[in-house]
């Protein structure tokens, strides 16, 4: 049953081949069996899931089916879930029971999905390996000595290990796409403004965007359909009609112009990864696409700019954790300053503290122009590179990550090395564009992800281009052996 796609599960439920209760119990049993080894979940919501499954069965019997009735999913623990612990991977929120549902969580409830739990993640989504989580690292199902990527590492590993049919993630600098690459699944980061950020714990508000993670583009299309759309509660939500993402999936790619930025194939890229990407591009050529080399000269500056913009926004957003209104509070504070400083010092982990300090520094008097303003200017140049590229080509393709999954502990002592895991993903967030990562093959028996980028609000095309590849190459059907 766990080998079925979301689409197949939905068909089976409607055709009464199995009940939502049976599906839920099957996946909960898998979580019970494998989670100890993989550490994908922070919270498993067994009772709520079974109740939701029974409600789904009732609707199925009454013929009141909605898009995802009875489909087992998980939410990244960054989304507020009413009455359920929402930790954001941090000691700071270890005791936080969300008092309301994020818009995205409410959307999935309305669509009928059954939520099995909340997935592990890097603390406050700051990390590329899931090792900064207060709840311990997630392990990669392809090799449990390796990282799953991050920050949505729990969601990626849970989908790869078939503990859920799909999951939600968030992507501020690559946090959906990079773990999707390292775990061999499909993950989509939508255009900034397509999916509501209301109730999604903020990290860097001009970059954060929620998106679907599943085993195929077709399944991502189904999940995205339930997530996308205008929300008056998010001031950056864009009001525009949401297309039917499934409708365009099988469109021919004949004549599609693919741009390969030469800067994405330079220094720092593992040769084995480069070879897999070349082979993926050959598949697209065989589908009638025209592949050409393009140049995006400011690509190399995306990580430097990102590490000004994201920490600056993070230092402002995380100022709300003060030990007064919710979250962790230190014991016996001497005075108000001591309450703030110790609650924050004890409640946040090292990487979060590093980023808050970097952000505080670049925004402080005397440094604002040299760092923050400069970064905003270079951000414009990076965005302009994309604008010019999309005058020549329809989609941009390249590697998602410069290497396959690395070993646990390999990069934890060197933050800069860790940050360079995101050299191909951060530019997309800075520009606000949509991007998807799909499994493109293997290097040293570990999955390699292909990143596809399109113009603003062109998710239909993105999913179409991904789906056509998956109909042809079928790498996405491979599964890790640890979970059998």
């Amino acid at each position: 049953m766990h080998n079925l796609s979301i689409k197949q599960l939905a068909e089976g439920l409607r055709g009464k081949k199995f009940s939502a209760r049976e599906v839920t119990e099957h996946f909960l049993a898998r979580i019970e069996r494998f989670n100890e080894r993989l550490n994908c979940f922070i919270t498993v919501t067994r009772d709520a899931a079974l109740a939701a499954a029974d409600a789904a069965d009732k609707r199925l019997r009454a013929g009141e089916v909605t898009a995802l009735t009875g489909i087992p999913i998980a939410h990244k623990d960054i989304f507020c879930t009413d009455g359920i612990k929402t930790s954001c991977g941090s000691k700071m929120l270890d005791n936080f029971i969300a008092p309301y549902d994020a818009t995205l969580v409410a959307c999935f409830k309305r669509a009928g999905a059954v939520v099995l739990g909340k997935t592990n993640m890097d603390e406050f989504a700051m990390g590329s390996s899931n090792e900064t989580s207060y709840y311990g690292a997630v392990r990669n199902p392809w090799d449990i000595e390796r990282v799953p990527g991050g920050s949505s590492g729990g969601s990626a590993a849970a989908v790869a290990a078939k503990l859920v049919a799909g999951a939600t993630g968030t992507d501020t600098g690559g946090s959906i796409r990079q773990p999707a690459a390292l775990c061999g699944i499909t993950g989509l980061k939508p255009t900034y403004g397509l999916v509501s950020r209301y109730g999604m714990i903020a990290f860097a508000s001009s970059l954060d965007q929620a998106g679907p993670m599943a085993r195929s583009a077709e399944d991502c299309a189904l999940l995205l359909q339930s997530m996308a759309g205008f929300d008056p509660r998010d001031s950056t939500s864009i009001a525009r009609e949401v297309p039917n993402y499934a409708a365009e999936l099988s469109r021919s790619l004949e004549g599609l112009r693919i741009g390969m930025p030469k800067e994405y194939f330079g220094e720092g890229l593992d040769q084995g990864v480069a070879d897999v990407i070349e082979q993926a591009l050959a598949v697209y050529r065989s589908l009638g696409c025209k592949v050409s080399e393009i140049s995006m000269p400011n690509s190399g500056l995306a990580v430097p700019v990102y590490y000004v913009v994201a920490p600056a926004e993070c230092s402002s957003n995380l100022a709300r954790y003060d030990g007064v209104r919710y979250g962790y509070r230190c014991d016996n504070p001497k005075n108000l300053t001591d309450l703030y400083e110790r609650s924050r010092g004890e409640g946040f982990g090292a990487e979060v503290k590093r980023r808050i300090m970097i952000g505080t520094y670049v925004l402080s008097a005397g440094y604002y122009d040299a760092y923050y303003l400069k970064a905003q200017q270079v951000r414009r140049l990076i965005s302009d590179d994309f604008r010019r590229a999309f005058e020549q080509v329809d989609v941009i393709m390249g590697p998602t990550s410069p290497s396959v999954a690395f070993k646990l502990g390999e990069k934890t002592s060197d933050p800069v090395q860790m940050y360079l895991s995101d050299i191909y993903t951060t530019a997309v967030n800075l520009a606000g564009l949509p991007g998807i990562c799909i499994p493109a093959g293997f290097h040293q028996d570990l999955p390699v992800g292909l990143q596809i980028i399109t113009n603003y609000f062109d998710e239909s095309r993105l999913l179409n281009v991904a789906h056509k590849f998956q109909q042809e190459a079928r790498w996405h059907l491979r599964a890790p052996s640890v979970i059998e």
Binding site: S206, V324, N335, L336, I356, M357, I358, V416, G432
Partner: protein, 95 residues
């Protein structure tokens, strides 16, 4: 930019973060390395480039000035570490 231990203490205080004395040299080293990475952006000429604060070129939406939220104080205060009579409690501020 190489940050000293004094810089770290100043930044940590601005950010209201208690950093243990023994951890300060580690933060000074890591943060200096991160700033060295960031400073690569100084190699590009940005004269006359309009700063980009946000991915969308749209203006902030306005809404009617109407009350849309109900009072949920008691509900929200369930997550508070200490409350009394509907108030959030902190150490004494005025002697």
């Amino acid at each position: 930019m190489l940050l000293s231990s004094e810089d770290i203490k100043r930044i940590a205080h601005l950010a209201r973060l208690k950093i243990e004395e023994k951890d300060i040299p580690g933060y000074a080293r890591n943060l200096s390395e991160i700033l060295a990475l960031v400073e690569q952006m100084n190699n590009v000429n940005t004269e006359g480039v309009q700063p980009m604060a946000h991915p969308q070129d749209v203006s902030q939406r306005l809404r009617a000035d109407e009350v849309t939220e109900v009072d949920q104080r008691a509900h929200f205060q369930r997550n508070a570490p200490r409350t009394e009579a509907g108030l959030y409690m902190v150490p004494k501020v005025i002697e």
